[in-house]
C-alpha cells in the first residue's frame, strides 16, 4: 500500500481517552482508517455478575466517565423492572434532573474538546468553567463530583439538600446568559465554520442502518429521541422539544448539542419549579441478601451521547445473571468513525473523533 501508516493514540491529545486509530494516508488524505480500541477493557458486564444488585451502581457509572448518570439510571430502571418496584414520583424527578444536568455537562465538554481540537482553546476553558458550576450542583446533591453513585434501585439515596433550588436557578441563569457568547465564539466563527461545514458527513440512511443514535442521528435529520419515543422517568410530564438538523456534518452535530443545552435548561427550570414532594426512595429488601425474582428486562435511556440500553437477566439470585450494556460509543467510535474518516484530511481526525462524541471507556467496557 502506498503512503504511510500512522498510529494515532492511545496516548494522543486529540483522542478521547485511551483509544487509538490506525490510519493509512496518501499525502494527507486518509485512505483507510481502523479503530484500535481495547485499552480500557475492564469487563464491567462480568464484574456485575459478581456483585450485589445495590453494589453494581458504583460499577456502571464507570462505563462512561463524562456521562455516568444515564448508566446509573438505566441500570436502576432495569433492576426495578425485573423486581417490579414502583419508584416514588419525587425520586423520578430528581433522577430526571440529574440526567439533564449530566447532559449539559457532557455537551459542554463536547463543545470544549471539539473546539480545542480546532485550536479554539477559549471555549474549552469556558466550557470547563460552566461545567464546574454544574458539577458543584451535582456534588451538592450527591456528594460526588464526577461519579455520583447516587441513584439506586428504588429511587435515589438522599433528598435534595436545603438551598439547592436557589443555587441551581442561579447556575442556570448564568449559563443562559453565556449561551450567546458560545454562539458568537463558535458558530459564528469563520474558522470554525470553515473547518466543520461539510466535513465528516454521515450518510443519513447508512447512519440509521448502522445504529447511530442520539444527537449524531438527530443531526442527520431523524427525530429520534428515547425521551419522546419511549418516555421514562418524569419526561412525559415535561415540555421540551427535540431539535433536529439536516446537514449531517460536524457543524450540525455541534450546533445540535448547543440547541440541546437550551432545551435541557428549559427542562431543568420546569423541574425546579414543579418537583413534587414525597419520599425519594422505595426501600428495597436487605441489600446483602436481596434476591431479585427471575426475569429479564430491557430499558433504554437517552444519554448525552446517544442511546444507552441495558438488558438484564436475573435467575433469582442476589447477583444479576447477566447484564448487557448497549452504549452509543461502540457504534460511533468504531463503525461510523472508520467510515467517516475515509477521504478526510489527516488534520481532521481529532475534530471528527470529538464531533462523534466517542467515549473510549464505553467502547471497551
Amino acid at each position: 500500500m502506498k503512503g504511510f501508516e500512522y498510529f494515532i493514540g492511545p496516548q494522543h491529545l486529540g483522542i478521547p481517552g485511551n483509544f487509538g486509530i490506525i490510519v493509512n494516508v496518501d499525502g494527507d488524505t486518509i485512505v483507510k482508517a481502523r479503530a484500535n480500541p481495547g485499552y480500557l477493557h475492564r469487563a464491567f458486564e462480568k464484574l456485575m455478575e459478581r456483585r450485589l444488585y445495590l453494589s453494581n451502581v458504583s460499577v456502571v457509572c464507570r462505563i462512561c466517565v463524562f456521562d455516568p448518570d444515564p448508566q446509573e439510571a438505566a441500570y436502576c430502571m432495569a433492576v426495578e423492572e425485573i423486581a417490579k418496584i414502583e419508584v416514588p414520583e419525587r425520586a423520578k424527578w430528581i433522577r430526571t434532573m440529574i440526567l439533564e444536568f449530566a447532559r449539559i455537562s457532557s455537551h459542554l465538554i463536547y463543545l470544549g474538546s471539539l473546539t480545542s481540537a480546532l485550536g479554539l482553546y477559549t471555549v474549552m476553558q469556558w466550557a470547563l468553567t460552566d461545567r464546574d458550576y454544574i458539577l458543584d450542583l451535582l456534588e451538592m446533591i450527591t456528594g460526588g463530583r464526577v461519579y455520583h453513585i447516587f441513584m439506586q434501585p428504588g429511587g435515589v439515596r438522599r433528598d435534595l439538600p436545603e438551598g439547592f433550588k436557589e443555587k441551581a436557578k442561579k447556575v442556570l441563569d448564568s449559563l443562559k446568559s453565556r449561551l450567546s457568547d458560545y454562539y458568537n465564539l463558535i458558530f459564528d466563527n469563520n474558522i470554525f465554520v470553515h473547518r466543520t461545514r461539510g466535513v465528516g458527513v454521515l450518510d443519513p440512511e447508512w447512519a440509521l442502518s448502522m445504529g447511530v443514535t442520539g444527537p449524531n442521528l438527530r443531526a442527520c435529520g431523524y427525530k429520534i429521541d428515547v425521551r419522546k419515543d419511549d418516555p421514562y422517568l418524569a419526561y412525559p410530564e415535561l415540555d421540551f422539544e427535540v431539535p433536529v438538523l439536516e446537514d449531517c456534518d460536524m457543524y450540525d452535530r455541534a450546533m445540535l448539542r448547543m440547541k440541546e443545552i437550551e432545551q435541557s435548561i428549559r427542562i431543568l427550570e420546569q423541574i425546579l419549579d414543579r418537583i413534587p414532594d414525597g419520599s425519594v426512595w422505595k426501600p428495597v429488601p436487605n441489600p446483602i441478601n436481596w434476591e431479585v425474582p427471575k426475569g429479564e428486562s430491557f430499558v433504554r435511556v437517552e444519554s448525552a451521547r446517544g442511546e444507552v440500553a441495558y438488558y438484564m437477566v436475573s435467575d433469582g439470585e442476589d447477583k444479576p445473571y447477566r447484564v448487557n450494556v448497549r452504549g452509543p460509543s461502540i457504534t460511533h467510535g468504531i463503525l461510523v468513525l472508520e467510515k467517516v474518516l475515509e477521504g478526510q484530511r489527516l488534520a481532521d481526525i481529532s475534530p471528527i473523533v470529538f464531533s462523534l462524541d466517542v467515549c473510549a471507556p464505553s467502547i471497551d467496557r
Binding site: 445495590l54 451502581v57 458504583s58 468553567t129 451538592m140 456528594g143 439515596r157 458568537n184 458558530f187 441478601n289
Partner: protein, 588 residues
C-alpha cells in the same frame, strides 16, 4: 452565518471577558470547599464501631477488609475494624449506608499525599473528620431497621384467665421477611451461650429451608423449639439492628422454624457408632437432656436418672404452661429419647440408688440437678398458712395439683420466677397481684418483656419495698408489714444497695404471700465426703474448663454450676461436659 466579516468580528466579543474577574483562576488563592455531604476519605469512630463487617460485605470493590485491633473487644462488638485500601475505594458510600452504628462516615477531606504506597491502606479514625462529609442517616439507611412482627400473641387481658399458650401462632411470610433482615454479621453469636450459628439458620429460614435450619439448630442446641419459645434471648441484645432500630426476633424465628416440622426423626438421622462406654446423667432437665443427646451421638450408652415422673426438669416443673406448652417439651424430649437414651424416672439418687454406686458403675457421671428448692425470707411469721415458695407452687401446678389461691396475693422478689408466680396467681383467680421488690423497677433481674407482659396482664409492681414481718391471725396470713427502701450508691460499677428507711414502715392486707427471692440446690443426694471434696462455693459446684469437678469422672453443669440459670447456659455446660467426658475417656 450571515457573512464573512461578521464571522470575523463576532468571536472578538469574547474579549469582553478580559475585563471581568476570572472565574477559574482565583487571586488570591481560595481553596475549593467541598459540599456538606462530600464523599471523601473515610472517618470512623473507633470507639463506637462494633466491627460487624457490614461495610466490608457490601463494598463493591473489596476495598474494605476487617483487621484485628489491639483492643479488648467490648460486649456486643469485635476487635475488628475496617481497613480501607484507597487504591480500590470508589467513594460510593455504601459502607456508610449499611453501618449499623453510624460510626463510619466519609469525611470531606479528599487530599492524601504520600510517597509510600502502604500509606494508602490504613484503618481510618476520626482524625480526618471536621464535621462535614457523607454521614449515615437512619431515614435512608439500607439496613432494615423496623421489625416485621410475625408472632400472633393472645391479647393480654384475655390470656390472663387460663393456662393456654400465650402465642396463637406464627405468620409464615412475615417470619421469613423478618429473617431476611439479618445482615449476617454474627455479633449475636457472641452472646449466645450455646454459640448457635444464628446468621446461618436465619438465612435457611429466609430461604424457606426449615429442615436445613433444624439441622443447624441441632448442631449446637438439641432443644430448639423450647429455646425458640422461652429462651432468655440474649442474642437479640447483641443484634446490630437493635442499635438504631429493632433487633431481629431471633428466638421466635427459631421457634417458628422448629414448629413447622412435626417429626424431627425424619429430618435428623444421626449415625451412631456405639463405643461401649457408659455414662450416668443425674437430672433430666435441659442440661441433662442436652448432654444425653450429644453423648449419644458420640456413641456412649447414656442413662438418665430423674426424680420426677416426667423428664424436663425446670422446663416442665418450673416454667408455667402458658409460656411453654407441654407438647413442645414432649416433642423434643421424646426425640432425644428416641436415639436410645435410657431413662430411670422417679429415681432419687441418694435415696433409691447410691451416688457412689453410680460413680463406680459408670465410666463418668454428669451431675445436672438444678435449683429446685426455694429460699425463705427469714422474717417473723413466715410459717403462717398462706405463705408459699414460688418454685414449689409452680411445681405443684405444673404437676397437676390444685392450689387454692388467695384474693389478694403479694409476690416478693424481682426475678423471672416472681413474674411467673404472679402471672400464675392471676390465672388461678387472684383478684389482685402485687409484686414487692426491694430495689427499683429498672434493677429487676426479670427480663423486660416478661415484666411488660406481667404488667399488661394486670400485675402491679411495687418497687423499693421490703417485707419485714408477716402478720398472722390464727396462724393464717392476714397482711404484711413492709418498709420502704432508698437506693444508696455504692460507687462506680457496683449495683446501688437498697437501705430501709426506718420511719417508713407500712402494713398491707393480703391473704397470700409467695416468696420468689431465689432458689437453691438440693445436694442431699451427695454423701458428705463427696460434698467436701467438691468445694461447693456459694451453692454452686466449681468445674474446670472441661466441666469436670474436683472428683475425677464427675462432671457438673446447669444451674448448679452457672449463675445465669437459663436453658441455653445449661446446654452450653452440657456441651462442655461432653467434650470433657470424651477427653477424659479418651474417645476421639
Amino acid at each position: 452565518m450571515k457573512n464573512k466579516i461578521e464571522g470575523f468580528f463576532r468571536p472578538l466579543t469574547a474579549l469582553k471577558y478580559l475585563l471581568k474577574k476570572p472565574a477559574t483562576i482565583r487571586v488570591p488563592f481560595e481553596p475549593k470547599m467541598p459540599s456538606d455531604n462530600y464523599r471523601g476519605i473515610h472517618s470512623n469512630d473507633l470507639e463506637m464501631c462494633i466491627g460487624c463487617g457490614n461495610c466490608a460485605k457490601i463494598c463493591p470493590t473489596e476495598a474494605i477488609r476487617m483487621v484485628e485491633q489491639d483492643v479488648e473487644p467490648k460486649p456486643g462488638a469485635t476487635n475488628l475494624r475496617p481497613e480501607v485500601d484507597y487504591g480500590r475505594c470508589s467513594s460510593c458510600g455504601l459502607c456508610v449506608d449499611v453501618c449499623p452504628t453510624g460510626s463510619l462516615k466519609l469525611s470531606a477531606e479528599y487530599v492524601k499525599v504520600s510517597p509510600r504506597r502502604e500509606d494508602f491502606v490504613f484503618v481510618p479514625d476520626e482524625s480526618n473528620y471536621k464535621g462535614k462529609g457523607y454521614k449515615s442517616n437512619v431515614n435512608y439507611s439500607l439496613l432494615k431497621l423496623d421489625r416485621i412482627d410475625f408472632v400472633e400473641e393472645r391479647p393480654h387481658l384475655k390470656r390472663n384467665k387460663d393456662f393456654l399458650w400465650e402465642i396463637l401462632g406464627f405468620k409464615e411470610v412475615r417470619a421469613r421477611l423478618e429473617a431476611s433482615r439479618c445482615m449476617g454479621c454474627g455479633i449475636c453469636v457472641q452472646n449466645c451461650p450455646a454459640e448457635m450459628d444464628i446468621p446461618e439458620y436465619l438465612d435457611a429460614i429466609r430461604k424457606c429451608k426449615d429442615e436445613e435450619a433444624l439441622k443447624i439448630f441441632y448442631k449446637t442446641n438439641p432443644l430448639p423449639q423450647i429455646c425458640g419459645t422461652v429462651c432468655t434471648h440474649k442474642c437479640e441484645e447483641n443484634c446490630v439492628l437493635g442499635i438504631r432500630g429493632d433487633p431481629i426476633e431471633i428466638r421466635y424465628e427459631k421457634g417458628f422454624a422448629a414448629s413447622t416440622i412435626e417429626d424431627y426423626r425424619k429430618v435428623i438421622i444421626p449415625e451412631i457408632k456405639e463405643n461401649g462406654k457408659r455414662i450416668a446423667i443425674i437430672g433430666g432437665g435441659a442440661s441433662g437432656l442436652a448432654a444425653a443427646y450429644y453423648l449419644r451421638l458420640e456413641g456412649f450408652t447414656v442413662n438418665i436418672f430423674d426424680a420426677y415422673p416426667k423428664l424436663g426438669g425446670m422446663m416442665r416443673y418450673g416454667i408455667p404452661r402458658y409460656r411453654l406448652p407441654a407438647d413442645t417439651i414432649d416433642k423434643e424430649v421424646n426425640f432425644i429419647l428416641s436415639l436410645g437414651v435410657k431413662v430411670k424416672k422417679n429415681t432419687k439418687v441418694g435415696k433409691d440408688i447410691e451416688f457412689e454406686k453410680l460413680l463406680k458403675d459408670y465410666d463418668a457421671v454428669y451431675l445436672a440437678t438444678g435449683f429446685h428448692k426455694g429460699i425463705s425470707m427469714g422474717i417473723p411469721g413466715e410459717d403462717a398458712n398462706g405463705v408459699l415458695e414460688a418454685v414449689k407452687m409452680l411445681r405443684d401446678i405444673n404437676s397437676g395439683k390444685k392450689i387454692k389461691i388467695g384474693k389478694k396475693v403479694i409476690i416478693v422478689g424481682g426475678g423471672d420466677v416472681a413474674m411467673d408466680a404472679s402471672r400464675t396467681a392471676l390465672r388461678l383467680g387472684a383478684h389482685k397481684v402485687i409484686i414487692m421488690y426491694r430495689r427499683r423497677e429498672v434493677d429487676m433481674p426479670a427480663r423486660e418483656d416478661e415484666r411488660k407482659d406481667a404488667k399488661k396482664e394486670g400485675v402491679k409492681i411495687m418497687p423499693q419495698a421490703l417485707p419485714i414481718e408477716v402478720i398472722k391471725r390464727r396462724n393464717k396470713i392476714v397482711g404484711v408489714k413492709y418498709v420502704k427502701t432508698k437506693m444508696v450508691d455504692q460507687g462506680p460499677g457496683k449495683r446501688p444497695k437498697p437501705v430501709p428507711i426506718e420511719e417508713k414502715i407500712y402494713e398491707m392486707e393480703c391473704d397470700m404471700l409467695i416468696q420468689a427471692i431465689g432458689q437453691s440446690p438440693d445436694y442431699s443426694l451427695l454423701p458428705e465426703k463427696i460434698k467436701k471434696k467438691l468445694e461447693i462455693e456459694r451453692k454452686r459446684i466449681p468445674v474446670d474448663k472441661y466441666g469436670m469437678t474436683k472428683i475425677k469422672g464427675l462432671f457438673a453443669g446447669g444451674d448448679i454450676y452457672n449463675r445465669r440459670g437459663d436453658i441455653v447456659s445449661a446446654i452450653r455446660d452440657a456441651k462442655r461436659a461432653v467434650r470433657g467426658i470424651k477427653k477424659y475417656l479418651k474417645v476421639s
